[in-house]
Assembly symmetry: C2
Amino acid sequence: MAPERGFPAEEFAARVDRAQARMAELGVDAMIVSTEPEVRYFTGFHTPFWQSPTRPWFVVVPATGKPVAVIPSIGAASMASTWIDDIRTWSSPQPDDDGVTLLADTVSELAGPDGRIGMPIGPETHVRMPLSDLDRLRERLGEFHDVTDVIRSLRMVKSEREIAKHRHICGIVSDAFDRLPEILSIGMSEREAFQAFRAEIIAQGADDVPYLVGATGPGGIDDIIRQPSDRPIADGDLLIFDTGSTYDGYFSDFDRNFAFGSATQDAIDAYRAVWEATEAGLAACRPGATTTDVFAAMNEVLKANGSLGNDVGRMGHGLGMQVTEWPSHTATDDTMIEENMVLTLEPGLLWAPGKAMVHEENVVVRSGGAELLSRRAAPELPII
Amino acid sequence: MAPERGFPAEEFAARVDRAQARMAELGVDAMIVSTEPEVRYFTGFHTPFWQSPTRPWFVVVPATGKPVAVIPSIGAASMASTWIDDIRTWSSPQPDDDGVTLLADTVSELAGPDGRIGMPIGPETHVRMPLSDLDRLRERLGEFHDVTDVIRSLRMVKSEREIAKHRHICGIVSDAFDRLPEILSIGMSEREAFQAFRAEIIAQGADDVPYLVGATGPGGIDDIIRQPSDRPIADGDLLIFDTGSTYDGYFSDFDRNFAFGSATQDAIDAYRAVWEATEAGLAACRPGATTTDVFAAMNEVLKANGSLGNDVGRMGHGLGMQVTEWPSHTATDDTMIEENMVLTLEPGLLWAPGKAMVHEENVVVRSGGAELLSRRAAPELPII
């Protein structure tokens, strides 16, 4: 059964409590966030309207009490349906002062004249407003204290309600992948294959398929972030599909590899090697280990199988309201893995020049170790 | 027939030529862009991978010659398939220097030690990199000269190839809207109605439906940017669907309103008033007029019909690689309308407290006036 939509107010209150505890440690009197996942995390405000770059949106988390929304009036009705009470609006677009004064006044009121103002300004963040307006905001409020780690540490560890949404979408996408041998056939174009898979995921119950990449290639694939082409699938092709699909705003993110008609022994061996690397990652991924331990466990298997390296820069990452989130499994990331993190394991093997094999699974970290959210890929390369 | 995918190199060369002519007027020696539509506009690099916030991506447009890509190595193969020759990569994520030095070195090389560096920092832009890294970049390169108007003036006016993509997706979505009376029925939940409509748009040939909002309500609707709920559609409901769907990375963006079973005379009158306002907008939207003229033409009809105002802040906007782009039809925008702009006309009427009616059509501006891309909405409220 599909998990309940949205979250009760107590979930948001708990998030804000944890944020405020961290803010207190840092002496931060108010925190400004401006991007979709940050605003949604603290308010529940959920709309695709963010795709329009016209209007900035802000939420201020004060040292105590509920967050305050500082948003364009077009969002007032939607925001009023969340747990937020204090909603301050202006009529946007208004290029000469698109919320800057209203935001600065609100922050000054909440943090006091000498308050320390936090904003996430570190890795994997950006500030979603024009830089010229951001400079004006800094003139009013002074420099921002980096609170990336406050947001990061909260969002990396999921609640059971969030995990249920991840599990649900991972199940849906697993079912859709299972149907691929029935849906795809030699002679279809990549584009037709993409659209058939996208439709299948929606039919299985996903809300949307915001992320879908993949490629086919004779005996191997050189580019794993590609959009589809009109190339027809041929006998002997390998195919990779990698999708980030959503249920209630939470992502799955895993891939599957298939061969059509036949496969070379090298491709079969590469598939098996990356599957074994994922096994090593699953075993290493437990509370108290680090992302670097997980990387090393997978990398060792890949090196033993003749890896020529890879261009991905990491072997998996966090997963949540965005298709990728902190942390990253790299040789230097060293993030301590905690219970209830939702992570991907994504080892990649360049098994010949221009031929990459990437596997990906989604897990939630439990006290005993990694629990799969995606249905584990077949241990041997499936041939359609 | 569907327009050809992508663009020939000459299209990108023409864009860069126009940008460089504007840069020369401003004395700008190199321009940095960092967001998906900006990078795609100058390179053709097209991937949903941008949804991952982990890695920054940059393109530098020099005063002469082709743009230079400064990107994570994961994107090298995809970027190499575009018309770009000079691709500089680093292995990302690398939080201690995630492209900052490589970008600064590249810009210094292209612009010279005392070069004037441009970046779009004005309305409807943001810089897609961590603010702490952006500050380091400014330390290396000095302050940026605002080139929002360079990007804006180029992107607002579409080529025939771009217009063909807009026309194609608008036709697809028009066909899908025409099928709504067969697809929807009283008793379906909003969510089921959304998914049925999304599936229909995909089945008609859209690549994706990134933007879909809407609502139902007894006799009227108070929130036009909402996600669907489990509320079942009831006799006497009004329904609005507003979708931004894509073909080859170009958007449609228009809505349709329906009643189920029956409608009140007030709702029928409100529909007619907004339809008439759109007619006035269509007549006013021609080269040499301004966005403010278009706004005024529509607003006059709405006021004559007892409008209580609206929360949208504008009555339409530009359309392109993003579901909304510059300019905006507002009382103060005053952008000169030019041939080959693709625009939405989006009058909104608050006809009773909590009851909004919004219509939207997509047009391309031709020498003789507005040419519809969407199939014109019925003049009277359709009842399903």
